[in-house]
Symmetry: C2
Subunit: 449 residues, 2 copies
Amino acid sequence: MSYAILAASLRSAMQRNDQETIHRLIAEMQPADLAEFVQHEQTDTVISLLRHLPLERRAVAFGYLSVALQEEIAAKLSDQKLGELLQHMSADEGADLFKLLDEDRQQSLLRTLAKEAREDLRKLASYEEGTAGAVMTSDYVAIPAYYDVKRALETIRTTGTEAETIYQLYCIDTAGRLLGTVSLRELILAETDTQIAELMTEDVVHVTTTTPQEEVARLISRYDLLALPVVNGGEHLVGIVTYDDAMDVAEEEATEDMHKGMSIGKLGAGLRRASLFDLYRKRIVWLVLLVFANIFSGAGIAYFEETIEAYIALVFFLPLLVDSGGNAGSQAATLMVRGMATGDVRSRDWARLLGREVFVAIGLGLTMALAVSVVGVFRAGTEIALVVAMSMVLIVIVGSLIGMILPFILSHLGWDPATASAPLVTSIADGVGVLIYFAIATAVLGLPT
Amino acid sequence: MSYAILAASLRSAMQRNDQETIHRLIAEMQPADLAEFVQHEQTDTVISLLRHLPLERRAVAFGYLSVALQEEIAAKLSDQKLGELLQHMSADEGADLFKLLDEDRQQSLLRTLAKEAREDLRKLASYEEGTAGAVMTSDYVAIPAYYDVKRALETIRTTGTEAETIYQLYCIDTAGRLLGTVSLRELILAETDTQIAELMTEDVVHVTTTTPQEEVARLISRYDLLALPVVNGGEHLVGIVTYDDAMDVAEEEATEDMHKGMSIGKLGAGLRRASLFDLYRKRIVWLVLLVFANIFSGAGIAYFEETIEAYIALVFFLPLLVDSGGNAGSQAATLMVRGMATGDVRSRDWARLLGREVFVAIGLGLTMALAVSVVGVFRAGTEIALVVAMSMVLIVIVGSLIGMILPFILSHLGWDPATASAPLVTSIADGVGVLIYFAIATAVLGLPT
């Protein structure tokens, strides 16, 4: 049955309070679908629905819930129940949830766990947010390089049930240092008495626990990896990041960059579940800063007050001109920021791209000047039309260059280039645009005496 | 050796024209790294560098090159050479390249291929761009459900070398219809005489050849799949989309949405390799349309010309006020568009999100009014400060609502909500902002008589 049908049946069973049907339908649903279904429900309802699943599957479905909902549910469960759930979740998801709890709860929870699980959790939870350490899992299969294929396959059969992937296996020396990697495919195609050391690929792409998660996602995507091994300072294998977690990271990073591009701070939850105050807080900071940035445009206008009073028709073209500069600049900034984020553009390409942008911007400026001068002639006569057209060309070129340069400057200052958001570029381009426009107007039309 | 060291050594070997060292270094490089390295070189240099690799690996590295560069190289190769390369590329990448060739070349190329390869290529190349059919590959392992585990493992050993993944296997009936899926993990853990039909999971998530590629990427990410099977109209299995291709699709879609969010059309290549004319063409259309959209703001200003002449100080606050509405609106639109793209927000959430946005926008508007009225009092006295503060609250609320509503309207009209780009929202909010500001000013300050 498709998700839509299952969801509709489940909803009607819930209305009839038909526990038997609810039980059957929940067992049939994919964990991701169940998570989606309960995402809208009250916390208590979610808990009672999840209770229909055996612990293993309940832990999987729980892992698919939004972080905010996981936190709400955790607050309502006893230490015992939460501890059971944590142990059956994948190690990385468990650690993420654990980190959200306050310290008292963490301590009382740790007391319910067995020693090994406790240390695993404490270690995974200790890595800084946004690093490979924080997104990796300890559920992988490591195989000593001196094993033969037969013994390796036995190890997979015994320890592989908990592992997130058994398709990529990591070869270690007796001290646990990462030596290489071998795929299950290679094991299966090899003779059973071959040594793992002979089969394995050395020089394996790997990261350390402190590598930023964007970089992890980029490497997995670049080399088409199933999983990326993570080592600590001593080159000891401590975890792996799997491709599905990398996909989530990439989506999260893309969302964050898009939000930053519009001057929105990092939201803990999606738009739907974020609190009103959180939405306010993440948006207001830049909005107020931009108000002050826009005072420069106002100051520019004040400076040219006499020109404006003499030629009031100039004001008609003001929004159009400054917006055009801002739009062209935002386009350039967006192309650059996204290019830098995906790795298409690197710092050394800067000069060449800037040179190209000059040509593109001249083309854009001339075309837009043509468009606006048609309006200008009809509306305000040839003289003002000329001023407007000249201003347009210059404003679009300057705006584009600002949009192209700003991400590089920010990146060189060690900031995230995505901070060169469209509103910031627009505000700067606006201020410059006002000056260009009225300076040209004053020069061409002259001041009234 | 790391990529940086390999790349530096290779570059110096190329300067010395030391063919032996070049050969050795290229053999050591990861295909993705080699592709990255040659991406900046002249087409002829790329061809001569790739020639150092055996055909199999050459085809893999070639698949990592940008589409633009693949096309340039293809133009310089003989039909014979290109045909060999195509046959050794993964089926989906080969089909993508094939589609870029003109019809004459396609025909002469097909003549060099064996019948099976020819039909495979022709079929894969026939699916519409952006659909599951166009991103899927025919390199998968299908296993008749009546096989036992032993026979299935033999099939994998014999046919699996060409397959993109042997970790997920697809179970079919004698007519080739998709019945279910079984993982290599399950096969390995099962007894060798078990029937595949007993092991397989039915109700497998699948798509048809016409499913949009965004949907494919979303399903793979949602259900954490290794690969997603694709069926034709008759439920026959015709291909699979693997997770690594889904990651590429997701990245491509995110880039496209970000560009659309800034009114930039779809670029065939990245910023670095796109032609100047392409960059111009993809940016100019909306820029010119926005010029005309901004004429409404100008018309609004013209309508209130008398008020402006009487209180010229009002112009000082104009950029600040209209920009604020545009910024708040762009934020709302970005949150909404991204939420819809990631599946966090669905159409039925519309009313509730709009209600929440009203509260957030009131908070934003009041805060910004406070900020601007401080400037207003000092700059223009209490009366104008009052006008500016009142306008700010109203403009921010209206701007935010425009940003929130526009993506939904577009989506209901069957358009991509991402067309509700920041510049479009800004232009609309600007026009409305001008009207609100001067209407309030005229009402509060009165017209000079």
